[in-house]
């Protein structure tokens, strides 16, 4: 039920400037998320799509999600079961898309301290998320405004609008 926190999430480490075209390649954009998911990140990391599991997290360098407005680039990560993305910064457009689809993005200045294959947890202190490494190191992330966390809780803007409509 509580989508805000996680424990023991396996880390996939990526570099900086991961773009939307790598996340959701143009050639597969006419298909749904299942097909896009098979090819997610294949231009930068060929073992990702076949190896990713429900509850894993991506840790990346700066400017995650630069490029297109195609929200499938965020939707595909939810489809593949990613619990969150942890990076020092995001494309502003990708940031909006991710929360609109219920994908939590953690803005973590020290993200790159986290290593490939590590298991991390997420805790909240008020509206401030905090990533906890296996060695106990706590990496404080930027606070997430309540109206964005509402979308994470609801699973995205569509379920949120539906809930509001049912009033």
């Amino acid at each position: 039920m509580n989508k805000r926190t996680f424990q023991n999430a396996r880390v996939w480490r990526l570099g900086a400037d991961v773009d939307t075209d790598a996340l959701a390649p143009g050639a597969y954009m006419k298909h749904g998320l299942e097909v896009i998911g098979w090819h997610c990140l294949e231009a930068v990391r060929t073992d990702f799509a076949s190896g990713v599991h429900e509850g894993d997290v991506i840790v990346a360098g700066a400017n995650f999600g630069i490029g297109s407005s195609r929200e499938q680039a965020a939707g595909v990560l939810r489809h593949l079961g990613l619990a969150a993305v942890i990076a020092p910064s995001y494309s502003g457009l990708y940031f909006r898309n991710a929360f609109n689809l219920g994908l939590m993005l953690l803005t973590c200045p020290e993200a790159l301290k986290i290593e490939e294959g590590e298991r991390v947890a997420l805790q909240f202190e008020g509206d401030t998320p905090c990533v906890v490494r296996p060695n106990g190191q706590r990496l404080v992330c930027a606070p997430i405004p309540g109206f964005l966390m509402d979308m994470v809780d609801a699973g995205g803007l569509l379920p949120l609008l539906k809930k509001r409509k049912q009033g």
Partner: protein, 428 residues
């Protein structure tokens, strides 16, 4: 009068304040804005929006304020694309959309071409290059399909009031150097997220000297700088352009208020247009930019003049000015996909299309084409020089394709010489 009323504001603040029904907004605050116009296309639009609207049992808040453009999957190249296009056409009829532009050009070019954008408006687009509207003094930015659903249902959207990064260009561009070079230079200097999702405003004598088409190129590639919006205050160039395409004078009343107040807080960066050389962005990032002279040993197989960024009428004219009376080098394939049917018709009338075809160009449909990477793309291992906006690995073809980004002048000069070349040498 409250203290706020007299406080100087940026153009971005003024545009957002109007849309939010406020006299003043402060940088950093989150406000809800009324949307004056929402544009979406065949990929981001009906095929994604209709199922969600149906699920909600909701309708579009105001179809007069919606423009649908079919440009990504046209002409349809297979059954899947055909289905996407059909959904768009059927849905447009069902929703009784009054503004549909079907297979007549790329959204960011046809939207202003049809007079939909006027200074002072607050607009959203279902495409990342939507900041193009900023060239017309509109606050316009790109959003995803789910957020567009929110706009379609409520007519509103939230924004965090941005800081303004003022890009001040003094001097004047040399012949053969263009707005594309200015943008590649700025993206190279500040990086693909240098705009930090704030508002960029282009100003100075070199910007004021630009035509509307060139200004659109600046605003367009604000997306590659990671800005939310790329604004240019309306001036006489804007107004005379809008009058020339038939926008009624009464619709342009009051546009003089849409500028950044003299003492408004901005972060200003200064550039000298006179000193700028043509710029080229090497694979695989628009920020990977250096002077054209650094790439003299690169021999492209394909020279591509296309996209909202680089195939407007003026871009075609620029290429033709270099290629006039000549043929491209052996081993180079020149492809031209004019950004809109109207602009192509004008280029034909002016003899520009003939020059390009005589030079060996293959003319492609008025659509996003290879730039979006949704249909036909470049072959395995190709080296491409392109007027488009993005050269990400795998975007315009297999990961083995190397795309260099440049202006129409540089692409034409490179096609002619068979090596990446400086058009200034040919135009002199």
């Amino acid at each position: 009068m409250s203290a706020n009323m007299s406080q100087p504001q940026t153009l971005a603040q003024k545009l957002i304040a109007r849309a939010a029904g406020r006299s003043h907004v402060a940088v950093g605050e989150v406000v809800t804005c009324n949307v004056d116009l929402a544009m979406f296309h065949d990929s981001s639009g009906p095929r994604r929006l209709k199922p969600m609207l149906d699920e909600l049992g909701a309708q579009i808040w105001d179809t007069q304020k919606v423009v649908l453009v079919l440009d990504h999957y046209v002409p349809a190249q297979d059954a899947d694309a055909q289905q996407i296009v059909q959904i768009a056409r059927d849905t447009a009829k069902q929703w009784k959309l009054p503004h549909v532009i079907d297979s007549e050009g790329i959204c960011h070019v046809v939207l202003p071409e049809r007079g939909h954008l006027k200074p002072g408006m607050f607009c959203v687009g279902g495409d990342s290059h939507s900041p193009t509207g900023g060239a017309f003094g509109c606050y316009m930015f790109g959003i995803g399909a789910t957020e567009m659903l929110g706009v379609c249902v409520t007519g509103q959207i939230w924004v965090q009031v941005p800081r303004t990064l003022r890009m001040h260009w003094s001097g004047r561009l040399q012949a053969g150097v263009s707005a594309k070079d200015m943008m590649l230079h700025m993206i190279g200097r500040f990086g693909m997220n240098g705009g930090q999702y704030q508002a960029v405003e282009f100003a100075g004598t070199a910007v004021q000297a630009l035509s509307m088409a060139e200004r659109m190129t600046l605003s367009n590639m604000s997306a590659e700088m990671g800005a939310q919006a790329g604004l240019i205050a309306a001036d006489e160039t804007t107004l005379s352009h809008l009058r020339s395409i038939g926008v009624a004078p009464e619709k342009l009343a009051g546009v003089e208020q849409w500028f950044t107040d003299e003492n408004a807080e901005c972060e200003q960066q200064n550039f000298d247009a006179s000193a700028l050389s043509p710029q080229v962005a090497a694979p695989h990032s628009p920020a990977n930019t250096r002077d054209v002279g650094d790439f003299a040993d690169v021999a492209p197989h394909i020279a591509y003049i296309g996209a909202c960024t680089g195939a407007k009428l003026e871009d075609l004219r620029a290429a033709a000015s270099v290629l006039k009376g000549q043929r491209v080098a052996a081993g180079v394939q020149l492809m031209v996909a004019p950004a809109s049917a109207r602009e192509q018709a004008q280029a034909t009338q002016e003899g520009v299309m003939q020059i390009l075809q005589d030079a060996g160009a293959t003319v492609l449909p008025n659509s996003c084409g290879a730039c979006a990477g949704y249909g036909a793309t470049f072959p395995e291992g190709a080296t491409v020089i392109s007027t488009t906006a993005r050269n990400f690995k795998g975007r315009m073809g297999p990961a083995s394709v190397n795309v260099y980004l440049a202006s129409p002048y540089t692409v034409a000069a490179s096609a002619l010489r068979g090596r990446i070349s400086d058009a200034r040498d040919l135009l002199a």
